[in-house]
Each structure stands twice: as structure tokens, then as C-alpha cells.
């Protein structure tokens, strides 16, 4: 009896409405990101729209479906700070990719 009471305190439940809202939003956002391809947007507009919808969807899933919005701050920080390492890695590899492309083209056409 005591045990089940304790458990009820620890497990938080949220109203069903919030899940249905997020669910619907994810559908709409996915539809929009599909439209980006459907209308064949190109260049910066395409890339920024793709990233915008992607981060919005990822944020909604993490915050509400994975309950991160309601979690303690320590957990949120443990999860999100390591992402900066990934961002650094991405920046490094963008530079590396450009250099590789440059040296390939250089040696293909100019020769060693």
C-alpha cells in the first residue's frame, strides 16, 4: 500500500491533449518538410527550411515525447552539453571536406 502510493508520486502523468497536439504538429511539420522537396525549392531557402523543420521536429519529440521538458535540469544538461562536441566535429569536417575537394580538383587538373 505504502509502496504503490510512493510510486504514484514518482510517475508523473500529463493530460492526453498535450500528446495529441504534439502528434498533430509533428504530422504537419513532416508534411511541410515534404513540401520543400515537392516544390523543389533550391539553394539557401531549401537548406534553411529543411534545418528549420528538422530542429523543430527534433525539439518537439525530445521535449514532450521523451519528457525532457519536465525532467530535472541535471539530466537535461548531461544530455545537451555533449552535443557541442558534435557541433565542433561538424565544423572541423566541413573544413576538411572543402580541403579534400580542393586538393582533389587541384591534383586532377593541375597535376602533382
Amino acid at each position: 500500500m505504502e509502496d504503490s502510493k510512493k510510486r504514484e508520486q514518482s510517475g508523473s502523468t500529463h493530460k492526453i491533449g498535450i500528446y495529441l497536439w504534439i502528434w498533430g504538429l509533428l504530422f504537419v511539420l513532416s508534411f511541410f518538410s515534404y513540401l520543400v522537396d515537392w516544390y523543389q525549392f533550391q539553394g539557401m531557402l531549401r537548406w534553411s527550411l529543411i534545418l528549420f523543420f528538422m530542429f523543430l521536429k527534433a525539439g518537439l519529440i525530445m521535449a514532450f515525447f521523451m519528457h525532457l521538458y519536465w525532467e530535472r535540469y541535471a539530466l537535461v544538461n548531461v544530455l545537451l552539453w555533449p552535443m557541442t562536441a558534435i557541433v565542433c566535429f561538424i565544423c572541423l569536417m566541413i573544413a576538411e571536406g572543402k580541403y579534400t575537394l580542393f586538393s582533389r580538383l587541384f591534383y586532377f587538373f593541375v597535376g602533382g
Binding site: I22, R46, L51, F65, N77, L101, R104
Partner: protein, 236 residues
């Protein structure tokens, strides 16, 4: 936030709570089920694995002088004789989001100790996952028939195939493992293991509906990864 297992432990919100939690006696994340904390740590490491794959793909794609295959043509599907770009991929995305939504509801009903609803929703999630894997198998066989190989393909840059099979294959493996566990948990929920507190296989820990939430975290993560794959591999 209070910890029911520790007398007098109150966790404040925000940075103060974080400082108290990280600097607390003996253990961090007091009151969080250890399985849940470990699942988060696992998902964090899995994030790094998927990031490495996607970054490798970015680097490979940006450093090749050959033209990259146009995904919206490569992944087009004929519907009534008209090629529709990315049709199958869009359907897969919607199926996965649907299953993610049913999983979120399953977790909610699990915490409310609504055994039947929880079980049916996990079953729906598992069927959604199974549909996704089936569609992916169809996509793979279609591309293999068209001559896409890890070392070459008829559409453009040779690296395309290896990245495609590696990234979607690794994600598909995650989905498949998830589906297996969803079916197992579906059985456990319907059998009432979490109501009776029946023990699991390798643990003395008593069963509790928090396990449904842990499984849910994994499933949402699989959906989360697909969001990134969809954006970077199929749309970019």
C-alpha cells in the same frame, strides 16, 4: 521534485536543483529509476554513433567532385504510372511518427495503470515499426534491383551506395530491435507483469510501468534519428 525513496530530499528547479543534484551525496539523479538513467546514457552514446555516420556522409558528399545522385529522383515511386518524388520515404516518416505517438500514449496509460490501453497501444506501436521495416526492405530491394551497390551506382557519385546502406541499415537495425522488444513488452503488459511486480529476466528488480517509459525513450529516439536522416539524406 521530491524523491519518495529518500527522506527529506527535495530537488529545486533550475540551476540550483542541478547543482544540488550533481553535488548530492552518494548518487546523482536521486529518485530516477536506474534503468531510465542508463537508457539516457545509452541514447547519448548512440547519438554519437549516428552523428559520426551522418558527419562521414557530409564529408564524403562535400569532398567528391562527382555529381551526387538526386535523392528526389532516386527515391521516387510510381503511383498510378506517375513518378512521385520521395513517396515511400514520406509514408515511412508518417508511419514512424504515428508509432511514436502511440508509444507516447502507451507510456501515459502505463503510468495511469491502465493495463489494457497500454498493451494495445504498445501493440499498435510494434505494428507500426514492423510496417516501417517492411517498407524499408522494399526500398532496399528496389534500389538493389536498380543496380545500387556500396561501391557503385548508376545515378552518380560512387559513395552514395555505401552511405545509404550504412546509415539506413543501422537505423533499420535499431527499428528491428525495437520491434522485438515492443512485442515482448506488449506481452508483459498484457500478462500483468507490471501490476504484479513480477521480476524480469536478468534482474531482481520488480517490474514496474517505468519500464514502459524506458522502452518509450528508445522508440522515440529511433524516431528522432529518422528526423535527421530524412532531412540530411533524403531532402538535402
Amino acid at each position: 521534485m521530491s524523491d519518495p525513496n529518500i527522506e527529506g530530499f527535495e530537488l529545486e528547479k533550475g540551476f540550483k536543483g542541478m547543482a544540488k543534484d550533481t553535488g548530492s551525496d552518494q548518487t546523482m539523479f536521486k529518485g530516477v529509476h536506474w534503468g531510465k538513467a542508463m537508457m539516457w546514457i545509452f541514447l547519448l552514446s548512440d547519438t554519437f554513433v549516428f552523428s559520426c555516420f551522418l558527419i562521414a556522409y557530409m564529408k564524403g558528399r562535400s569532398s567528391t567532385p562527382a555529381e551526387w545522385p538526386n535523392p528526389s529522383e532516386v527515391f521516387a515511386l510510381d503511383a498510378f504510372g506517375v513518378p512521385v518524388p520521395l513517396l515511400l520515404i514520406a509514408l515511412m516518416t508518417f508511419v514512424l511518427i504515428t508509432s511514436s505517438g502511440t508509444m507516447a500514449l502507451a507510456v501515459k496509460y502505463g503510468y495511469e495503470k491502465n493495463r489494457k490501453m497500454c498493451g494495445y497501444l504498445i501493440l499498435a506501436t510494434a505494428l507500426g515499426g514492423l510496417t516501417f521495416v517492411g517498407m524499408q526492405a522494399y526500398e532496399w530491394s528496389k534500389l538493389i534491383h536498380e543496380g545500387v551497390r556500396p561501391w557503385s551506382n548508376p545515378f552518380g557519385a560512387a559513395q552514395f551506395g555505401s552511405f545509404f546502406f550504412m546509415i539506413t541499415g543501422f537505423h533499420g537495425t535499431h527499428v528491428s530491435i525495437g520491434v522485438i522488444f515492443l512485442f515482448i513488452y506488449c506481452y508483459k503488459v498484457f500478462a500483468g507483469h507490471y501490476d504484479k511486480g513480477k521480476r524480469g529476466w536478468f534482474t531482481k528488480m520488480k517490474g514496474d510501468y517505468v519500464e514502459v517509459e524506458i522502452l518509450g525513450l528508445y522508440w522515440h529516439f529511433v524516431d528522432l534519428v529518422w528526423v535527421f536522416i530524412f532531412a540530411f539524406f533524403y531532402l538535402w
